[in-house]
């Protein structure tokens, strides 16, 4: 992830609009307080949050500008378009801060450093002095790397070294004042100290938001494992008829749309962390820009569920800024800057359509896993008890089964730590293609099975047919499958048994096993035959030995008890 950070963006935007402000101390005021100050003013001691009078005292000759959100949004849009030339999938966080996924672009430009240099060069032509670039594995780390970088320079945290880079930073950087002050009082003053705590203890003491902060402190992205691609019907649009050219009309519609979007997502127990704002005009121009609704604001807003939550206010603000950037005609003298303004007129006619597409949503909180169809109070009660157990025994000790693709009863279930999101629908650990060869011998028994829920892991050739065994040994227990002469039954490469099995012995069975009354098999499974290292061949048998129905595997001449139909 690459983070491009332009400190004091309001000042940069003001200077773009009025070139006479270059090299003089400038501050931008918001409701009487300093919102941003230029380097010249900072040298004189002007800080963010000072009153107007105080700032003027410290820095004679200070030029004061009112805050101009439209200008900021518009200037940032120009910058975004510059970066978009290099990497299309950028996401804006707020004016002055944007993120670009680096995986593709870095390979294309020959490394993170070279990519960062290209971005800085592009930004310089647009005219954003003092922009800094940070590159790291995650967004949080990248943002701190950008802070570490020199003005106009870049700082790259090598892959896998996020935790070491983060360790010396103070905990207040986590952007959670309550948590930070508590940690400091506990004697944990740096991210490294905090990251060193066991995850289960953090969950028990600080709850879910603490766990998120802990993941960030360890250099893992808070939401990364839980991302979900939203279903397509979550996008909302508003058609303008007649087309609107006045920005305030469009903004009004945009705000209502933002409220509705977050309310509908909250009803599904989802939080939006990235939204794409799209617009179309009468002349067929199509505009799109992606905004991140970063961490805390989005999370806190979303869980509230009400239409007027802070999350919805932030989203409405972003939509407003974007619409203003697109629609407002640039009239200032800055119009002619940087030689790019020829194509600055994005919108040559009225808007006909505004669309909000949630690109990335996460499940709101961990306790809503079983919300659908269940009693909400019961889900919350269960969630509290299970989180308490996780803090007692560790996150991995409390799991929930999730159906997935596979052949044996063991493979068909993924045990997901409770509260984590289920793995993606397509099982990545076992590629479904190329298809595995299945040799089925014997009586032409059904060798495929439809998954119970149809969707997850549909039909796998060679799957063990239902019913499923209630006891599944992980790992399989040692066993002996013997023929009438007391010799182990082996399976040839062609899937033929050396002799009919007559006896199954295993310490995991009552009385150590017994004579076999009925059996079926062997079914040969040729697993991962395309990979010489990981290739496995095994034969499966269903047997009933001494009244107990079992699933037995024979691999490399050794038998194992895989499961008992208890």
């Amino acid at each position: 992830m690459l983070c491009l950070w332009c400190p004091d963006w309001p000042v940069v935007a003001a200077r773009r609009a009025d070139p006479s402000l270059e090299d003089v101390p400038v501050v931008v005021l918001d409701r009487g307080l300093v919102l941003a100050a230029s380097v010249e003013a900072r040298v004189e001691g002007v800080r963010r949050g000072l009153r107007r009078r105080e700032a003027e005292d410290r820095c004679p000759g200070l030029v004061i500008r009112p805050v101009d959100t439209t200008g900021e949004a518009r200037a940032f849009e120009a910058l975004s378009r510059g970066v978009e030339v290099l990497a299309p999938r950028l996401a804006l966080d707020r004016p002055g801060l944007l993120f670009v996924p680096t995986r593709g672009p870095s390979r294309y430009f020959g490394g993170d450093e070279l990519f960062a240099t290209r971005v800085l060069a592009e930004v310089a032509t647009v005219g954003a002095p003092g922009a800094r670039v940070g590159v790291a594995d995650g967004a949080f780390t990248a943002q701190l790397a950008a802070r570490r970088a020199e003005p106009g320079g870049s700082f790259v945290v090598p892959a896998g070294e996020s935790a070491a880079f983060l360790a010396p930073w103070p905990v207040r950087i986590l952007d959670d004042d309550d948590l930070a002050s508590l940690l400091v009082r506990l004697g944990l003053s740096t991210l490294g100290d905090f990251a060193g705590l066991p995850e289960a203890s953090v969950l028990g003491r600080f709850g879910l938001s603490g766990l998120g902060a802990h993941r960030r402190a360890r250099g893992e992205d808070e939401h990364l494992p839980a991302l979900r691609v939203p279903p397509p019907d979550l996008e909302l649009h508003h058609e303008f008829d007649p087309p609107v050219s006045r920005v305030d009309t469009a903004v009004f519609a945009g705000r209502a749309l933002a409220d509705r979007l977050l309310a509908e997502l909250a009803a599904d127990g989802l939080i939006c962390t990235r939204v794409r704002v799209e617009a179309e005009t009468e002349h067929g121009e199509r505009l799109a820009r992606t905004w991140r609704l970063s961490g805390h604001a989005a999370v806190r807003g979303g869980t509230g569920g009400a239409g007027s939550s802070p999350g919805s206010a932030i989203l409405a603000e972003r939509v407003r800024g974007q619409l203003e950037a697109w629609v407002t005609q640039d009239e200032g003298p800055g119009r002619a800057d940087a030689g790019r303004s020829a194509d600055d007129d994005l919108v040559t006619s009225g808007l006909t359509l505004l669309r909000l597409v949630p690109e990335e949503v996460v499940v709101a909180g961990r306790s809503q896993l079983g919300l659908w169809g269940g009693d909400r109070a019961a889900a919350e009660r269960a969630g509290r008890a299970l989180v308490r157990l996780q803090s007692l025994l560790g996150l991995e000790a409390v799991t929930t089964p999730v159906l997935q693709g596979g052949r044996t009863p063991d493979e068909r279930i993924a045990w997901v730590p409770w509260g984590d999101d289920p793995p993606p629908l397509s099982d990545q650990s076992r590629p479904p293609a190329p298809p595995e060869r299945v040799d089925s011998y014997g009586d032409g028994s059904p060798t495929t099975v439809q998954a119970a829920d149809g969707g997850r892991g549909a039909t796998w050739p060679g799957a063990v047919p239902p019913p499923a065994p209630a006891i599944v040994f992980r790992p399989a227990r040692p066993a002996e499958l013997l023929d009438a002469g007391g010799r182990p039954v082996t399976v040839s490469g062609r899937g033929e048994a050396s002799a009919p099995p007559e006896r199954l012995n295993s310490p995991a069975l009552p009385k150590g096993g017994g004579p076999i009354e009925a059996w079926a098999g062997p079914w040969l499974q040729d697993l991962r035959w395309w990979d010489p290292q990981a290739r496995r061949r095994r034969a499966l048998w269903q047997v009933v030995a001494a009244g107990v129905a079992c699933l037995v595997s024979v691999e490399g001449g050794e038998a194992h008890l895989e499961a008992v139909y208890d």
Binding site: P401, P446, P466, P467, Y565
Partner: protein
């Protein structure tokens, strides 16, 4: 939301063939149910069927699976909604009672394989907790306390599998049901589970 608690609401209906042989068709909330049976006799399947009673009512179920051998797929086939099932593993012996008590706080039906040497005093404490929280504790193995209902899997007989042919299909699970009150006399019944033949 519920002004009156009817006797029926104090009961969790057990779906499927097992429910038909239980007194009242289900589990009494706030009680302890004991499930016994040797490995392979069908005791685990009985436990799964009882867990299904909780998720069918929209509530949560949990299992303390000491050996880590519970089959998730079999749970799904028994009718348990997997997204409302939690499985707790790797429980140290000293914490066993505390873990089960915590689960009873939050979950409607808790299945637990009771370890050997579990003390009667701990058992009484869990009984009290289940009563207080209106949760059902399904104790598999040796339960050193009172149980309102006892299910014993006598044995399972399978059909469909021959000598070198066929597949495991239907199972007849013989269950002995006994308990207090209405379930006082021991009754023996056969429960048919598994897939239909020639499915």
């Amino acid at each position: 939301m519920r002004p009156v608690v009817l006797a029926g609401e104090r009961r969790l209906a057990v779906p499927g063939p097992l429910g038909r042989i239980l007194p009242g068709g289900g589990l009494q909330r706030g009680s302890v149910v004991r499930v016994e049976g040797a490995a392979g006799s069908g005791a685990t399947s009985l436990l799964l069927a009882l867990l299904a009673a909780a998720t069918a009512a929209g509530e949560w179920a949990a299992v303390v699976d000491g050996d880590g051998v519970l089959g998730g797929l079999a749970a799904a086939e028994a009718g348990v909604a997997l997204d409302r099932l939690a499985v707790v593993r790797a429980v140290p012996a000293g914490l066993y009672g505390r873990v089960v008590a915590t689960l009873l706080d939050g979950v409607a039906v808790v299945g637990a394989t009771i370890p050997r040497g579990f003390r009667p005093a701990d058992a009484r404490r869990l009984e009290a907790r289940a009563r207080e929280r209106a949760a059902v504790l399904v104790a598999a193995g040796s339960w050193p306390g009172e149980a309102a209902l006892r299910l014993r899997a006598e044995h399972s007989s399978w059909s469909g599998l021959g000598r070198g042919e066929g597949l495991l299909g239907q199972r007849v699970l013989r269950v002995a049901v006994s308990g207090r009150g209405a379930a006082g006399r021991e009754r023996v019944a056969d429960v048919l589970t598994g897939v239909r033949s020639a499915a």
